[in-house]
């Protein structure tokens, strides 16, 4: 693979990694608070539909984004009610919400636009447009780093940079603030938080709402940044890949960045069988690359390379009284 190709694939990888990263960080907040969330996929899908539809109807990508965030938060709250308030099974709730989203998005989009469950193509102000980073032009000619800066880093829509900034922000929130300390504590041992006089329920709801916001951004990016409109099942399992990345990253923000970049890179590479063949000298089946994130995650889960230990209270409802 020559450098130009690497640049191109990396550029593509960054775009494809962005929804994974946002969804992965979304899952991180929820799971760090002790609420397992396998419904990232559904929330992204809802957000994609809502943002696509709202952006089309209002002509404003920002309104679209907020609609997406709203839809994802709504689903988050259903998950919260089921798993926090009514102490239901978090895994089942997640599965259910994914189905709900698959059905709901098509029903709503079809009712609104009669285009088989997709929104009409977005244009102009209804889409996120690429942002040129400063000096991208000027630096493009610097050898090695220049093209990397100008081609790979520069020229993406705002949400790509939001996603990248979300990583240090998440890290900072988690490890440097009171909220983060409590969030981590409630996912490890909710009783410690409860006896310290902090509301477990409120903390967990806040976490779940942040999850909704980030999933909303992920969905909005899919429909209004990466694509110009929503299409049925457009998230295509990205929520599950994000979940895999979250495990791969052992529930840590910086690792999440690397994991999603890796998975994004695999996705980008899967698009270019020609490059693979040229680089490795043999035709690696695209199916194998598609499956690789899941295979890697299983290997990590199996503890063969550094065991992934989930937050200790994850998945269990907090019951104070019997």
């Amino acid at each position: 693979m020559d450098y130009a190709t690497l640049i191109q694939v990396s550029d593509s990888a960054l775009r494809l990694a962005t929804p994974l990263l946002l969804a992965c960080l979304a899952g991180l907040f929820s799971e760090r608070s002790g609420i397992f969330d396998i419904g990232l996929e559904g929330k992204m899908l809802m957000a994609g539909m809502a943002s696509g539809a709202a952006a089309y109807l209002t002509g404003s990508v920002w309104l679209g984004m907020f609609a997406g965030i709203g839809a994802a938060i709504l689903f988050s709250l259903i998950h919260g009610v089921a798993s926090i308030t009514f102490r239901g099974n978090q895994l089942i709730s997640g599965v259910a919400l994914n189905f709900l989203a698959s059905g709901m998005t098509v029903l709503i989009a079809q009712a609104l636009f009669h285009q088989g469950g997709r929104t009409p193509p977005l244009s102009g102000g209804a889409r996120f447009t690429p942002i040129e980073l400063p000096f991208a032009e000027a630096l493009a000619d610097v050898p090695i780093l220049g093209p990397f800066y100008a081609e790979v880093l520069s020229g993406h829509s705002a949400l790509v940079y939001v996603a990248l900034l979300a990583v240090p922000t998440t890290w900072w929130l988690l490890y440097r603030t009171r909220f983060g300390l409590r969030l981590r504590a409630v996912g490890e041992n909710p009783e410690s938080v409860d006896t310290a006089g902090i509301s477990v329920v409120r903390l967990r709801y806040s976490a779940v709402i942040i999850t909704g916001i980030l999933c909303g951004l992920a969905g909005a990016y899919m429909a209004t940044g990466l694509q110009a409109g929503f299409g049925r099942e457009m998230t295509a399992g990205r929520g599950y890949i994000a979940l895999a990345a979250l495990i791969f990253a052992k529930w840590r923000p910086w690792y999440a960045l690397w994991a999603t970049l890796l998975f994004g890179f695999l996705q980008a590479l899967a698009l270019r069988p020609d490059v693979i063949e040229g680089t490795f000298g043999l035709a690696i089946p695209v199916s194998f690359l598609d499956a690789l994130p899941y295979i890697l995650t299983v290997i990590v889960l199996a503890g063969f390379v550094g065991k992934a230990i989930p937050p200790r209270a994850g998945g269990q409802p907090y019951v104070k009284e019997r």
Binding site: L16, Q115, G116, R118, P121, A236, L271, V286, S287
Partner: protein, 306 residues
């Protein structure tokens, strides 16, 4: 009452299935008749869909897409009274009409236009699912490109190996970006719903694209060089019009019967110069007359040019 079954990708794919829909709609508008329609949701549903429509007395039943071939082969004999029409596939049954197109001819024409419009001498092709049918598009296209500019480079990519390749705009978009980075400045998308992503990205990045099946010029006015028309609409219209009297057997839609062609309208008028049009029209005449023979990939599963 006739019926129409759309393949995966759906009625509003702006391309192949939508062309079928347009044809059916034209028939309905003209005759005031009504028809049943059904969109496939999954691979395994095909048989149920066919049987259900046959059961309900629909006749003829038109289906779009080669993927129906296998099930039609088993279903058609169970309903000898019902007439079927399948597009893009040959099914040898007494009550089936098989409609096939000479996509290589239409693709040849748009290939010529691509070569003429290209400034870099590099053009692209993005196909949907990697099957001989789509290679047939690609091969005709390359032949057209080379006819104009023997030195031109054609970058080819297929979106995938499964039917989901017909409906993956994200991949279409990423492949477009990849081809642009390799120098392509005209890209032909023969990929169903995936093509929407191709055309969108091409328009965003300021290069030209070529649509397929339906006239897609209007999707991005001034940015779509032309569209390779595959008159699925005509095929559906004809079948509906013939009704129960539809003739079985193989039905080839080629340039001569306007089965394929290229689109010219207000949206791309500025992009197509008179000399381009003249050259393409001349080639079309020669193809019709048999003076130019465009190789059909599916005849021997090879393509003489790369």
């Amino acid at each position: 009452e006739p019926a129409l079954i759309f393949d995966l990708g759906g009625k509003f794919d702006k391309s192949f299935n939508e062309a079928a829909y347009t044809g059916a709609q034209r028939w309905a508008d003209e005759t005031g008749g009504s028809y049943k329609e059904l969109e496939m949701q999954s691979e395994a549903q095909r048989e149920q869909a066919l049987r259900r429509l046959a059961q309900s007395g629909a006749n003829p039943i038109v289906m779009t897409g080669f993927a129906f071939g296998d099930v039609l082969n088993t279903v058609a004999p169970d309903y000898p009274e019902t007439k079927f029409a399948i597009i893009d596939m040959v099914v040898d049954q007494p009550n089936v009409r098989s409609v096939v197109f000479t996509e290589e001819q239409g693709s040849y024409l748009v290939g010529m236009m691509a070569a003429q419009a290209s400034k870099t001498g590099t053009v692209g092709f993005i196909g949907g699912m990697d099957i001989p049918l789509i290679r047939k598009f690609a091969c005709g296209y390359v032949q057209g490109v080379k006819a104009v500019n023997p030195d031109a480079k054609v970058i080819q990519n297929m979106t995938g190996t499964t039917p989901s390749a017909w409906n993956d705009p994200v991949k279409g978009s990423e492949l477009t970006k990849a081809q642009i980075s390799q120098g392509a400045d005209v890209i032909y998308a023969a990929a169903g719903g995936t093509g929407i992503g191709v055309l969108q990205t091409a328009a965003d990045e300021g290069i030209l694209s070529i649509g397929v099946d339906s006239n897609q010029n209007h999707l991005h006015p001034g940015k779509v060089l032309t569209s390779m028309l595959k008159r699925v609409d005509n095929a559906v219209y004809d079948a509906f019009k013939a009704g129960e009297a539809i003739e079985p057997g193989i039905h080839v839609m080629d340039l001569k019967v306007d089965g394929v062609g290229y689109a010219l309208d207000d949206n791309n008028a500025a992009l197509v110069s008179d000399e381009m049009k003249a050259a393409v029209d001349a080639a079309a005449e020669k193809i019709k007359a048999g003076e130019i023979s465009v190789h059909d990939y599916m005849a021997d599963n090879t393509c003489p040019v790369e």
